[in-house]
Symmetry: C2
Subunit: 486 residues, 2 copies
């Protein structure tokens, strides 16, 4: 990797500079809080002053620093930006007194930035509008961050599945939107903004007020799942609203490069993408299975079974975490089925978390190839994805990722159970956070929250959110002694 | 693979011929039943006549058949011998009326042959001695079969981890005991017999009667876990007996080639084997963790905590399935901890089931290598095992095995929950059978049995036992259309 000492000055400078972005969104929230005037304005003002001050200090004190950014600096910046943003971002909750302790405030904030959506709040509606807005826009920021990271920055660091779409496997998606990171970021954000506006308008047509529509659009596009209502989307008993959100959750779980082509109406390009086809296929099949089972095992109408099933399946596969129904009240088969769906995750290059469709597909294809290799030991049986052969090195990386993911899930479950949680809650809390979903199973289901998790557990789950969000390796590599060697 | 038609005649001939081995053990059980004279003699006699008849028919009607055995014939024979043996082996239970239905009798018998040890019996002591003996010797036969399979036959078919020890990775263990399968088998069985006799003597010294000592030695060495008592080993409140069984369970979970060197007192050779060192290390660490946690969270003495913890850890890691304590009564952390241990399994080339230590070690080493590869993308970072580099093809195979194992576990859990089982019982029943362990968690814990599982579930779990026992691929390949193509 890099040679010589790690350039901490440039890390400090970049982290500080990025705080100006957070400050901009703090300012927006400040304006919202002024508009509603519900007593949270000063908490934003103080936080804004702190954020801007740190930003200025970081620039002044590192003026003459070398601009040499290596891969190691990249790893540190990418991991720490979420931590720094979350600490600063938790201040309005603490200052306003609405989430008094640092543990809870930090958990709520990093759960936002990582677009997880696990909440410790048990009375969301009691929050002033400013803080509600802040809570939603944190997720929107996180979603923006992850799109740029996964499509532009992580591939440079050699992380994430996206190397599959770059030099390794030339396919439709490698039509890079623009070679330069900044330009790419701008275009992606424009699409992100466009979808957010479209959803807001549609939700308002469905009967939501502007504030709720905007907030939910923020958290849909981020696959975050924070709602302005304690009941989540179940608060609105409108099929139209439910279907609109299903559609936009599905879009948010799509690779944003593809979404770009979709916007340009180049649907052939979208459907020729193999990951997208599997993503659509899995979603449809899972929704169908759930619909039939739910219909046969409940008093719900077929439309309601279909709507609730589709909503919950799409919400969980995209790792959004909204709910229109408490699936823990469904029959055990469906609970376990949805629990399995939680491991999937959205497409690579989307705001979704989890293992990701691309990896699941490569895993399945490689398993089939293993059988063929047994039958024809002399033949070379390649794994193909997007019309190209996947290098064995990449397959190894994908398999290692999945196994590491499961390993973290198992160890995490053991840790959480050691803190006194029962089996299902332990598993549920780990997959909900590691997969950046939000609600899980057990006592952290969609009708419950994370308030009662012990403090140590909250910090541990916060860590899992970050690990899951940054494709495991990005964060865990910082714990490797080899990383810190000169 | 093979060319032309599959030689079904030779398959029939070999399966029939192997029935003479089962007939020999049926004869032994017949003698035991005669000795105790408890009314089960005729059920053995009838079964014996059926088995010998089929054996003779298969030889007479295939006299002039081609002796051409290809790989495909090998796969079919290896899978079907367990099924045929289990059908024949279930007859004494059915004829005697002690296990009336075919479903239960077949489940109990294949659970024996696959050395799983999951039972549908809820009053074991009511069985006549002949049937108890048959139940135990079925496991002993299964253990014998698996040693020969994993050390001599599966490597030829390209299955199982053992190719790691053959041409691929020359290490201490490749000092093949003898090149020819028959000779190898004879020597391995001699060791197997020697250990069985030693354990019988030690258990008798500990106060067991000859019958119980012999039966438990059969099922220990097979890592099967069938007991002659409903309470399992908890029936004997003797520390000596518990420690003897811990020792022999551990031996049975060791690669039998290594056990051979151990018997010859070549301990240096044993300890230089990497899989053995990890096997010992994992066992010690897990037992230690469990001991401390159990001691701090119960009224048990330290010795009792240590003994119960060691017993349960060794019983589960070797996939034996005996119990001296109902671990489901322990604190949730220990239940989840032991549930995780169930995924490990014994060493390759032992009678133990599960994923196997070797694969877990390669998985962990490859995960570490992945981090190093990220830090030094240009360098070639090999995974080493037993002082040799593991080919990337083998790593891929190992990872594919583990992921497939987890996939089957997940799908199996969903299937069992669809049959109405609750989450923990569904997971417990699947890992207990797929891992060839015996008891699981939920309603199929060590103090319970599989009686209440629906019939379809029993057949499905029987299938999982076979799939797990034959290293997944051996059985699943038969479902591949490519396998049956000319």
């Amino acid at each position: 990797m890099g040679k010589g000492n790690i350039n901490f000055k440039i890390i400090f400078r970049i982290l500080g500079s990025l705080l100006f972005i957070e400050s901009f969104f703090l300012l927006l929230s400040l304006i919202v809080s002024l508009f509603y005037n519900e007593g949270d304005t000063y908490s934003f003002l103080y936080t804004l002053i702190i954020a801007v001050s740190i930003g200025l200090i970081s620039r002044i004190f590192t003026k003459n620093s070398s601009t040499n950014i290596g891969k190691r600096e990249g790893f540190i910046i990418v991991s720490f930006v979420w931590i720094v943003f979350s600490f600063i971002g938790s201040l309005p909750f603490i200052f306003s007194g609405h989430i008094p302790g640092l543990t809870n405030a930090f958990f709520e904030t990093i759960s936002g930035f990582t677009t997880t959506g696990s909440s410790i709040l048990n009375d969301i509606e009691s929050l002033p509008h400013g803080l509600l807005f802040w809570r939603s826009i944190i997720q929107w920021m996180g979603g923006m961050g992850i799109i740029v990271l996964s499509l532009a920055i992580l591939p440079i660091l050699g992380i994430g599945g996206m190397q599959l779409f770059s030099a390794e496997v030339p396919g439709p998606v490698t039509d890079k939107l623009h070679p330069r990171v900044k330009e790419t970021a701008k275009r992606l954000w424009l699409i992100y903004l466009l979808f957010t506006i479209s959803e807001t308008i549609l939700l308002m047509i469905g009967g939501m007020n502007f504030f709720d529509a905007l907030n939910h659009s923020f958290t849909t596009m981020a696959t975050g799942g924070y709602s302005t209502k304690q009941e989540s989307i179940a608060h609105w008993n409108s099929p139209f609203i439910h279907y609109v959100i299903i559609l936009f959750m599905f879009i948010a779980g799509t690779n944003f490069s593809l979404a770009y082509f979709g916007l340009k109406l180049k649907f052939k390009k979208v459907f020729s993408n193999e990951e997208f086809r599997y993503y659509l296929g899995f979603t449809l099949i899972f929704a169908l299975i759930s619909t039939i089972v739910l219909y046969l095992n409940s008093d719900l109408s077929f439309e309601r079974s279909f709507r609730d099933s589709s909503f919950q399946v799409v919400s969980l596969i995209t790792t959004t975490g909204y709910a229109t129904a408490d699936y823990l009240q469904w029959i055990p088969f469906l609970i376990i089925f949805l629990f399995a769906v939680m491991f999937f995750g959205g497409s690579a290059g989307s705001t979704g978390g989890g293992i990701k469709i691309m990896r699941i597909v490569i895993l399945l294809k490689n398993s089939i190839a293993e059988f063929k290799r047994l039958i024809h030991p002399q033949a070379i049986i390649p794994v193909r994805f997007n019309h190209n052969t996947v290098k064995s090195q990449i397959i190894n990386n994908v398999l290692a990722f999945i196994v590491l993911y499961i390993l973290i899930f198992v160890v995490g479950t053991i840790v959480m159970s050691a803190l006194g949680l029962d089996f299902e809650t332990a598993m549920g809390s780990v997959i909900a956070t590691l997969g950046n979903i939000g609600p899980g199973i057990g006592d952290v289901g969609p009708a419950e929250n994370f308030q009662d998790i012990p403090a140590v557990g909250k910090w541990f789950l916060s860590f899992l959110m970050l690990v899951g969000r940054l494709e495991l390796f990005t964060v865990l590599i910082l714990f490797s002694p080899a990383f810190w060697k000169k």
